[in-house]
């Protein structure tokens, strides 16, 4: 059954879209990762224009992060003050990011920048995940206890000005590092259509040294607002949010995430984590390949903004 997407202006199979939402939702439910960095490339591979994929995916992440952050909120796992500081950076990052996308679109380079960003980030995430999971598997085989890495001292962070007290995180640190993390995450959300949890969570643990209990909740809290802002900005600046596409992906994603979360409690995670890492690297290689191999058609057509 085909469905016509009013903003992407093409028709795609409903079950393909629901299925993609479901599979990515399953993986994110299982591993507790956001689905953006998996979904946006999949949408691009299925022929959705990259700028529509990015903006629409930001819209979908609003839905998944809302339900996630409500659960965290109920368990009192959100550091609201830290979330707001991150968000202030996120606002700057997303406004700049969306504006950058608009300029790049006019220059005809937006697809390239999206692809290059994905090669970079999928490559890094995939490699780190693979190393981590191989290590854990080896350790558990040799009978050693699997313990979380202790973060080292980051004295330079404590020398920065603008110190603030974050009661929930039991921290007294400068507001500059979280603001900068927020800016980066906002940029990524606008350019790549991701929530940015994969950058924010490690940054909170290793850089800001927040207690792990509040990391996920605070990150989701910030993601809700940043992706909402990115959706509204893309809708006004670029008119690239496809509500029909987003709704289909949400439907598949919500169901997939619930099944994934339950499966994650029963299955042994580490081998599957290695599999996810290989999948991420596979997508990275595919995007690389598309950039390097001579395309069969060197020319491309685009309608200018507001050309209707």
């Amino acid at each position: 059954m085909q469905i016509y997407l009013p903003i992407a202006e093409q028709s795609l199979n409903v079950f393909l879209l629901l299925g993609m939402g479901g599979v990515v939702g399953f993986l994110s439910g299982m591993f507790g990762v956001g689905g953006g960095f998996l979904m946006t490339p999949l949408l691009i591979f299925s022929g959705i224009p990259p700028i529509v994929a990015v903006a629409t995916e930001a819209n979908q992440i609003v839905a998944s992060s809302v339900s996630g952050s409500i659960a965290q909120w109920r368990r009192n796992n959100v550091d609201v003050k830290m979330g707001l500081v991150l968000l202030s950076g996120g606002v700057v990052g997303s406004v700049c990011g969306v504006q950058l996308v608009k300029v790049l679109r006019e220059l005809g380079q937006v697809d390239l920048v999206i692809s290059l960003s994905y090669v970079l980030f999928l490559g890094i995430i995939g490699t780190l995940m693979l190393i981590e999971s191989v290590r854990t598997v080896l350790k558990s085989r040799s009978g050693q206890a699997v313990s979380a890495r202790r973060p080292g001292q980051h004295n330079w962070i404590h020398k920065l000005p603008l110190k603030m007290r974050f009661k929930r995180s039991k921290l007294y640190i400068s507001a500059i590092p979280p603001i900068l993390v927020g800016v980066l995450v906002g940029l990524l959300a606008a350019i790549m259509g991701v929530g940015g949890g994969f950058i924010m969570v490690p940054a909170m643990i290793y850089l800001l040294r927040m207690p792990t209990s509040v990391v996920i909740g605070t990150s989701l809290f910030q993601i809700v607002f940043v992706t909402s802002l990115v959706t509204i900005l893309h809708a006004t600046q670029n008119q690239t949010v496809d509500a029909v596409l987003a709704l289909l992906l949400m439907t598949g994603g919500v169901i997939g995430a619930q099944i994934g979360a339950q499966a994650g409690q029963k299955l042994k995670g580490e081998q599957l984590r290695a599999l996810l890492a290989l999948m991420v690297l596979g997508m990275c290689i595919k995007i690389c390949f598309d950039l390097i191999v001579e395309p069969s058609e060197l020319f491309s057509l685009a309608k200018p903004l507001g050309g209707h």
Binding site: M1, Q2, I3, Y4, P6, I7, E9, Q10, S11, N59, Q60, V62, A63, S64, S65, V66, S67, I70, A71, G108, Q109, D111, L112, V224, S228, T231, I232, L233, H234, A235, T236, Q239, V241, A243, V244, A246, L247, M250, T251, V254, Q258, L291, I292, E294, P295, E297, L298, F299, S300, L301, A302, K303, P304, G306, G307, H308
Partner: protein, 261 residues
């Protein structure tokens, strides 16, 4: 009866006779589409449109030749940015570009026999029939850019739109039903541009255009598709807010449903 009235009667007879002969000689073409409005709705995945027509008037010249027909369907004109990729630092990057105005977003020709046998290249060019005349139109329009490679870009437009089934240039596609009735069919793919279309039906005899008939076709978004599309383009801020609210509602609904379980 005076000589005068005889003369007058004769003159009248001649006038009537010649007029009748002219009517008979002047074959005409009439046609219509099975639909004049294509509704792009949620389930739209492209559509086939049929055109029916008839050649009226007799074969008074005595030759038993069947007339020739060419149908041209032209879509709304669009501005298109064409970009060419070049290998820079090992990767393929959009390096050069050229913008064309008034490019037909859809262009299909249908004929009853090979177009080169129906009329000369020159005649077709004058009437703007055929993809080659679209190309020459774009070439003239781009002349002021004085780009040596504009031909490459024009060829690319036609090649890509043909690949996407938006341009079609085929000998054939028109079938005669008996001597005077004919039928043709053309396809509008799912990516068809929105706007007003024109179907021109040309009747040729001995390589000359003897009649022409034009009918219109509108491709328009309808229902939810239309609502979403126009909201997104006319009130983008409101559209953005609504998209976010819908997503939040979906997230809330999901957590409410699965919490009960």
């Amino acid at each position: 009866m005076t000589a005068r009235t005889i003369l007058a009667g004769l003159a009248l007879t001649i006038i009537v006779w010649t007029t009748m002969a002219n009517i008979a000689l002047a074959q005409k073409i009439e046609a219509d589409l099975t639909t004049h409005a294509i509704r792009v709705e949620t389930d739209f995945s492209g559509e086939k449109v049929a055109l029916f027509g008839a050649v009226t008037g007799g074969d008074v010249d005595g030759s038993n030749m069947r007339p020739d027909i060419i149908i041209v369907v032209r879509g709304p004109k669009e501005t298109i940015n064409v970009r060419r990729k070049r290998r820079i630092a090992g990767i393929w990057i959009n390096a050069d570009g050229l913008t064309f105005k008034d490019v037909p977003g859809y262009y299909t020709t249908l004929t009853n026999r090979p177009i080169s046998e129906i009329a000369s290249f020159f005649t077709l060019g004058e009437l703007g029939i055929g993809v080659s005349s679209v190309k020459s139109g774009l070439f003239i329009a781009s002349a002021k850019e004085s780009r040596i490679d504009s031909v490459d870009y024009i060829e690319a437009i036609v090649r890509i739109l043909k690949r996407d089934k938006l341009y079609r240039e085929a000998d054939g596609g028109i079938t005669f039903i008996g001597r005077h009735l004919f039928r043709a069919e053309f396809e509008l793919p799912a990516t068809v541009p929105i706007g007003d279309y024109e179907a021109d039906v040309y009747l040729f005899r001995n390589e000359k255009l003897i009649s022409q008939y034009t009918t219109g076709l509108a491709v328009e978004k309808q229902g939810v598709e239309q609502w979403i599309y126009s909201l997104a383009h006319e009130q983008p801020f409101l559209y953005g807010i609504l998209s976010v609210l819908a997503a939040m509602a979906a997230g809330l609904a999901a957590s409410a449903i699965f919490r009960k379980k």
